[in-house]
Every structure is written in C-alpha cells, then in structure tokens.
C-alpha cells in the first residue's frame, strides 16, 4: 500500500502589495499560527510534535538577505528540528509542498510543516521585473530585453497564430479570476471587471495588458502534512482535525529547457507516444484531430505549450488514478501568472485538447456555479479553475503561491471555505478531489499535486 499523507491544515497571510508593518519572519508566522490554531493546538503543543519543515522562497535578491529560510525557521521556534529551503522559480511553493509530502511519504517524518513566503515590495516594480528576468539565461535571453511578460506574450502570439486564440478569450480568464477573488478576503485584488476593462487596460507586452498579468505581492502560506501515525499524535495531543480527512493522492513534476528557443518541436508519433494523455491516446477522434494539427504544421511543444506541465499532469493523474481530469476533478487551482498561461495550462493538464484552450476559457466550464460574472457563457460550469481568484487576483508572492493553492484546496475539500473566507460563494459543492499546479519560468519546473477528501 502506498503511504497515506494527510494535509490537515493550512494558513495564508493576507496577500498585499506591501507589508512594511512586519518582517518576513513575522508574516510567515501569521500563516503558521493560523494553521496551528485551526486544528486547536497551542504553539507549544505543535512545536513539541512537528518533526521538521520545508521552507520556500524564490529570490534572495528581493530581501538582499541570504538564508532567509533559517531566519523563518528560527522565528517559528522550529530550531533545531530538520529543515531545508527549496527554490524553483514560480514553482517554488509547489515544490515545497511536494518535498514536505516526500518527507512524510518516505517515513522520515510523521508531521512536516511546509511554509513559504516572498516580500517583493522591497524593490520597485520594474526592479522586481529585472530580478525575475534574471531567471532567464543571462548570456542569451536576459540581455536581449529580459522581461517575463514579454516572454509569455511571445508564447501567446504563437498560440494565437497556431490555434486562433483571441484576446477576448484571454480576457474571460481575467474576468473570472478577478470576480472569484471578490469573495476571497485573502486576495490582493478584489475587483469586478469586464472584458472591455481588461482590453483597455495599459498594454504591457502585446497582446497582454496589465489585467492579463498577475501582480507582485508580499505574503506567506503554510500547510501541515502528516502520516497516519502523525495524525494519531496530533489528535492525542488534542488536535481537532476536520473530517472527512484530506489526503494527497497524486504527485507529478516536469521540467523543460530554460531557454524557450531550445524547446523541441517533435512529430506526431513522438507526441502520441510520450506526451498524449491516456484519454487522448484512446480516442480515434482525438488522434485524428491531432493528426490534422500536425498536417497544418503544428509541432510540440514549441513555445506555445508546456511539456513540463503535461509531464507533471500525466504523472499526477496516473498516481491518483485519474483518467479524465475534466470530469474527475472538482476544481483546479493553477498557476495563472498570465491569462494566456491559464489557457496553455488547460491544455497541458488535459482539461481540453491542445489548441482548444481559447474556446474552453470562454465556454463557462472553468467558471464557478452561482457566481455572476456579467458574461454570456454558453456552457455550464464543469470544473472550476482558480475558484480562489488565482495568482491574477490573489497575488503572487512567489514562494508562498504554490502553498496558498494547497491551503485553498484543503479548505475546499474540508468544505470550510465559508469559515475561512467569511463567505461561502467560492465553496465548490461536495468537492471531493482537486488539483494544484505550480509553474516556474517559461515552463521550466512544473508541479501538479492531487488532493482528495477521504470517502
């Protein structure tokens, strides 16, 4: 039997443009304390029981401080317990969650806390963009005009050219995620926008406007994972852990070349053999659809698709026993740093086929039921994507983001969104299984994790 890893609790600091009121350690403690208090333990009780930690933050540059992880570990009173820092660009939080899972799944720890943070307000926005762009090849990419919004805009121009994806379809993602965040008190941006608002916002990197792009944030998040034995220890100490329990049932990761220019352009047979989902491989109609794309010159992954995301998704679905993610997941929290990358990720995760992300975005399938978006959506919600508001509206304090997704997923599966958000609009009814997706660079590291409510 594979080891059971429970995700029993989580906490998120309110994401904000700037949090000068506290140091990063104290912001982490807000999220950490919330996670402990939510299971009814005291700080001392939890400190006694927790076996160790994993810390996540992306850039040492933002704080001009090396080894921030140990400073947080110290502030949380976790010394001398084991701990380490993980870093993998925008996927740092997702990697941290999976490293904590490994610590428990391997039997190394019974109770492990994953915490992450970023304080991006310590530099001006355009300097922050420069730091982020240093996560591209400094010999060949950065000096040409290093700017991540520019990199993603290049990807989407190719996506638009290949598949006919439109800026209005992208704007649907922004409207959806902003309106969702309207009901999420942790979100940085809680605004109702129209498609017109998105398109008339200042152009950043054609065709992406300011409202197609996530913002920089200060924030932290923490989750507590444990084994069966860890669960017994927590409850013996008086922890009140919500039933049904939430467990982690799928883990997947993928990678790709740092330089977008180096991405391969593989043929149809190679794609079907190595990258197609089981569902795609088994459908005559889909095989014919893809054959048609290749006949028109489509090559995979090129710069329009993320094979790291597809690899991570396929691995996680296989681990969790999922054959049809669109119909077998009740929600997905994915890394929408850009509206365009949410569309690309629909395809990578197999929520729709490659090339169909644009129409999928505007179909209504990824929207929340019972929420008024002010849009005419042709189809009913099927699998809400970013019910929390995602990065675009919640904010993206890089090291915290993947863990924020985990916390919101835990609350969805516990059915406790009303309690934590102070509003029940975003509770996915009877949610029993969800996925979280964390993504770095131009698709260099991608993690997908599946969380499930015990029957």
């Amino acid at each position: 039997m594979p080891p059971v890893v429970y995700a029993v609790s989580g906490g998120v600091s309110k994401f904000a443009k700037a949090r000068p009121d506290k140091t990063f350690q104290a912001i982490v403690k807000e999220a950490y304390d919330y996670a402990i208090q939510d299971i009814g333990l005291t700080f001392e009780q939890f400190t006694e029981l927790v076996d160790g930690s994993v810390a996540s933050y992306f850039s040492d540059h933002f704080q001009r401080q090396l080894m921030s992880g140990i400073m947080a570990q110290d502030y949380l009173g976790l010394c001398p317990k084991p701990g380490h820092r993980v870093e993998g660009g925008g996927a740092t939080g997702g990697l941290c969650f999976q490293e904590a899972w490994k610590s428990v799944a391997s039997g190394h720890m019974d109770i492990c806390v994953a915490y992450g943070f970023e304080t991006m307000s310590h530099v001006e926005t355009w300097k922050g963009n420069e730091f982020i762009a240093l996560a591209s090849d400094v010999s060949f990419d950065y000096p040409v005009g290093g700017f991540y919004s520019g990199y993603y805009a290049m990807m989407v121009t190719r996506h638009m050219k290949e598949f006919g994806t439109t800026v209005e379809q992208m704007a649907h993602v922004s409207v959806k995620n902003h309106v969702n965040a309207y009901y999420n008190r942790y979100a940085q941006k809680r605004n109702r926008y129209t498609v017109q608002d998105i398109r008339s916002a200042p152009m950043v990197a054609w065709p992406l406007t300011r409202l197609d792009i996530c913002v920089m944030s200060d924030g932290a998040a923490a989750t507590i994972l444990c084994s069966e034995e860890g669960l017994k220890k927590l409850e013996k100490a008086g922890a009140k852990i919500a039933r049904p329990l939430v467990k982690v049932t799928g883990i997947g990761r993928g990678t790709d070349a740092m330089r977008m220019s180096d991405r391969p352009h593989v043929d149809y047979d190679y794609f079907m053999r190595h990258y197609a989902t089981g569902q795609e491989q088994s459908s005559d109609e889909t095989r014919a659809y893809y054959r048609g794309l290749w006949d028109k010159g489509f090559r995979y992954p090129g710069v329009h698709s993320f094979r790291a995301g597809r690899t991570a998704g396929n691995m996680a679905w296989k681990h969790a026993g999922i054959a049809d993610p669109l119909h077998e997941l009740d929600f997905v929290e994915l890394h929408d740093a850009y509206t365009s990358s949410e569309i690309q990720t629909y395809e990578d995760l197999g929520l729709c086929r490659y090339g169909e992300g644009g129409p999928f975005a505007a179909s209504g399938k990824a929207f929340m039921p019972g929420v008024d978006y002010g849009l005419n959506l042709p189809e009913q919600p099927l699998c809400p994507v970013n019910p929390s508001g995602g990065l675009i509206a919640c904010g993206h304090p890089v090291g915290a983001t993947g863990l924020m997704q985990a916390v919101f997923a835990i609350w969805q599966l516990q059915g406790t969104i009303q309690e934590h958000f102070g509003d029940g609009h975003l509770q996915v009814k009877d949610a029993s299984r969800g996925a979280i997706h964390s993504h770095a660079g131009t698709g260099t590291y991608v993690t997908v994790s599946v969380l499930e409510r015990e029957a």
Partner: protein
C-alpha cells in the same frame, strides 16, 4: 485620446530625517504604545560587478563581432541549435560550430511597452524568436524596422535578415533582425 494618469508615480528616494518621534518617558504604558508605531523603512543599496564568462559559447560572440552568425550542430544527428549549446540535449555529444544563414523567419514576437528596469528607457521594443532554415531551435532577438504601434499576428512568418552592430558590445544584441 490617450488616458490621463490618475496616480503620481511611486518612487524610492525619501527625505533625510534627523529624528524619529519616540516617547520621552518610558514606562509600561508608553512601551506598549510602541506596538502602534509605523514601520521604519530605510534604503539599502546593493551594487556588484560580475566577471561573467561565456565559456564554451564564446566563439558565438566572436562571430557576431565579425558579422558571422554561428550555431551548434550535433555531428552525428545533425540536430542544429540556433542558440549556442556546447552539448546536444538528445545524444549528450559535444556539438560543432556551423554558420547559420543570415536570413530567417519570425516564429513569435511581442512589443514590450514596459520592461525590466534596465530596459525601460528602450520601451517600446520588439522581441522576436527567429527560426532558420536548417536549424531545429530558435534565436531570441530584437526586431527592428517594424512599427511597435502596429503589432500584428501577420508579423509571424515574416522574412527577416540579420544586421550586426558595427561597434560590438559582446552581447547577443550585437545581432538584430529587420524585415528582409
């Protein structure tokens, strides 16, 4: 009509302060009031000069200085990289230097109206990925000679040709592309 700015820009560069308000008498009450104090924020400057080596990729930059566009090729498979790479990702073999054509096609592009701090003065500028006959990968470059205000998907597929800076900076921008 262009949209009028509604906010004054936020910048660093504060005012020199010679005193910070603080209770004159310290007792339990005034010490507890310190919890209400606003945070003090100071500026810290960090500046560093790196000695960056292009290592095995150095000949590429020497080529640009001399108006030659070099790529790398796996000697066995012929897989060709338009952005230099010392070893092939499929075979692990050391690649050899080959010359690439001076003409290519726009594969993808964007117009950056904002950018990282270093490049803000150059906005708007056009970034493009270029594909070449005989190469399996792309090259990131600046595209000149197109109107940033007239961005169009029709630019994808446009034939372009390389131009080289006369006064080399030993950067990948020593080469740029213009419509052929």
């Amino acid at each position: 009509m262009s949209r009028l700015p509604t906010h004054r820009p936020e910048t660093l560069g504060g005012t020199i302060v010679h005193n910070i308000p603080f209770p004159k008498v310290l007792n339990e009450e005034t010490l507890s009031l310190l919890k209400q104090m606003s945070p003090i924020q100071i500026e810290q400057v960090y500046q560093i000069t790196y000695l960056h080596s292009y290592g095995q990729d150095s000949p590429f930059f020497a080529g640009l200085t001399n108006g030659v566009f070099l790529g790398c090729r796996d000697p066995q498979t012929g897989y060709t990289y338009a952005t230099p790479r010392g070893h092939d990702m499929h075979t692990g073999e050391e690649t050899k230097w080959v010359t690439l054509p001076n003409e290519g096609v726009v594969h993808a592009f964007t117009v950056c109206h904002f950018g990282s701090e270093e490049f803000l003065p150059e906005c708007p500028f056009v970034l493009a990925l270029i594909e070449f006959e005989g190469a399996d990968t792309l090259f990131l470059t600046r595209l000149m000679g197109v109107d940033p205000a007239q961005a169009s998907l029709d630019w994808i597929g446009m034939k372009v040709k390389a131009e080289y800076l006369r006064n080399s900076k030993l950067k990948p921008t020593d080469v740029y592309f213009v419509p052929a």
